[in-house]
Symmetry: C2
Subunit: 363 residues, 2 copies
């Protein structure tokens, strides 16, 4: 495990953490930007009684940074302390609180969601935390191109933030993810991801845990472990296997490109992986992303979603894994989520999972 990160407060009091490679300590300067003071105004959570899901209404974010020119990138190092979110001449990996957070305020004070009774207008403060993680100081790089030690440093940063956010009152679910590509609306091209601490279990995770609990009740086994065993036995949808991880296109893939990466051993989240497993995760993850970028003439737009769970009654059946998905369905065409997908959650895929797995294996 790498050393503890260096904490460095930003001008408006937000937290920033430097995660550094050995013998490359950060050399931060004071953040001298005249940033407006942060208010304690939070977004709002509203409970949708028709779906049983929380929705976040973050009306304060409409003015957030939108496609700045490269020379004004807020994620590049800012040696003067005046031009960037990262007041330092250089960095390896940094994590900082989002300046335009959808969720905020999760510290040490207790927070509980209101009870879900028959009130038709249940709402709550947008408690939680939104962080940005910069994978590299190189503006033009990508995760797939990171050297192994750098990718492993990102994994350590995810792990550190996961442990920290999971320990905060009122955070029910920690979600590390990356949106990559203008095609999916990414407004900052500098390689970065995000970390959300939700005050609720996100709907998709909740749905999967429901299925897993009911599988456990019927079979006595873990659903995801059984699915990995089935995928390995079948073989057709496997993309890559190592001692510690298995990557495959799921049997009922919803996206034109979709790969799930599971550790071979059942763990709930990154904090439960051993050092060799963390190395193995950094390795297979960058390997799969490299295959993504070789699929077409330009790099694949994708979403990477780390499914992490807590060892609690509600989440115990949750098996740590990454779900990678892309809307690109050919060199020139994107899949759009239209009526069937967006309005009815009924996904229609144009390709067989087996053919996508074969393509990815051969790249």
């Amino acid at each position: 495990m790498t050393a503890e990160p260096t904490h460095w407060p930003l001008a408006d009091g937000r937290d920033l953490f430097f995660f550094s490679l050995p013998e490359h300590p950060p050399a931060p300067v004071p953040d001298r930007r005249p940033l407006p003071e942060r208010t304690d105004q939070r977004s709002e959570l509203r409970f949708d009684r028709t779906t049983g899901q929380w929705v976040i209404i973050a009306a304060l974010r409409q003015d957030r940074t939108y496609k700045p020119p490269a020379e004004a990138c807020p994620l590049c190092p800012g040696p003067s302390g005046l031009t960037s979110e990262i007041p330092a001449p250089d960095y390896d990996v940094v994590v900082f609180e989002n300046r335009f957070p959808s969720l905020s305020g999760a510290g040490t004070a207790p927070f509980v969601l209101p009870p879900l009774n028959d009130d038709l207008s249940t709402s709550a403060p947008g408690h939680g935390r939104c962080e940005v993680i910069c994978f590299s100081s190189d503006h033009t790089g990508s995760f797939a191109q990171l050297p192994t030690a750098q990718a492993r440093l990102v994994v350590d940063a995810w792990r550190h933030r996961t442990a920290d956010l999971m320990s905060r009152p009122g955070i029910a679910h920690v979600f590390c993810f990356e949106n990559r590509g203008e095609e999916i609306g990414v407004t900052l091209t500098h390689p970065h991801g995000q970390i959300y601490g939700y005050p609720f279990l996100a709907p998709r995770a909740a749905m999967m845990l429901d299925q897993a609990r009911s599988h456990r009740a019927r079979t006595g086994t873990n659903l995801f472990a059984d699915l990995i065993t089935r995928e390995i036995a079948d073989g057709q949808r496997i993309v890559a296997r190592t001692d510690s991880f298995t990557a495959f296109v799921p049997f009922a893939a919803r996206w034109p490109v979709e790969v799930h990466i599971y550790p071979n051993r059942f763990v709930h989240n990154l904090t439960e992986l051993t050092e060799p497993e963390l190395d193995g995760f950094a390795e297979i993850y960058t390997e799969i992303l490299g295959r993504f970028d070789r699929m077409y003439s330009t790099p694949l737009p994708y979403i990477s979603a780390l499914h992490q769970y807590a060892d609690t009654d509600e989440q115990r059946e949750g098996y740590f894994h990454v779900e990678l998905m892309s809307i690109r369905r050919s060199d020139t065409k994107l899949k759009f989520l239209a009526g069937s997908e967006s309005a009815m959650d009924a996904f229609i895929s144009d390709v067989t999972p087996e053919s996508v797995a074969k393509r990815l294996r051969e790249l």
Copy 2:
């Protein structure tokens, strides 16, 4: 109610129906295109054990029509019977079977989905039906611009197709919808919608019915009726009200623009509406779409989703309504469904439902 439609077979045996205004009977010509014979090859349904949802794998559709030039529009009238899906010099409203269907084969033969036991690889033929509905023969029009009688004719066509498809064995759920706008991937600009007959209850409808059944068990009332009453009493999110319909932005709206339209009387689907209510529906629906098109300098891209239910034990709590949604969040910006929405189903909205309702009321 308008007269029964005129049935006219296409060259490859697909059904086409002309729905016509009074005293404007269709004058179809034979479809003389050398279309390849239809095969009985169907797409595949696969059950996703991790979510409890069916996914449609329609690998045969990758070559479907993609942004043809206007002079080759397959939805414009084709008087020669050689250039279009509609072999006629003119039409009012037509419905025909999609040439590249995601679901097919629903006729009179019985069909049952396989049982959902602990098999991890449950699949089934892609049984169902996919139809295209042309709202007008005018290539450049839009639904919002339809004269009232024409909009009502579309409603009659939806109603006819709903009744027909609901009666077919193995169709569990009929979904009429419109995708409008290149921004959401529409490849044919001619004003048209689609009608799906799913062999399963679509996941979002299933989720809403679960909530409504549990609401009924607790309160003895219909969830959606209670929500309409609450919206009317509150008033802030109401966009329009008539004798027979109420349109509002939902309390926990997920999209930058979202309006739901409910009849004031609880019905399950279009076939249960009276003649005056059908008139009222055509009227409020085009009225709301007109407001959409006045929001920004160019017409709003949107998805329109008709939620229709059957009067069965599973679906009885379902209240007919339309959900309209748009990803446009300003004159120049779109909302993309990225990590939180696409991978976790956790929606983040940048605007308050109340401000959107106010804006729409004032337009």
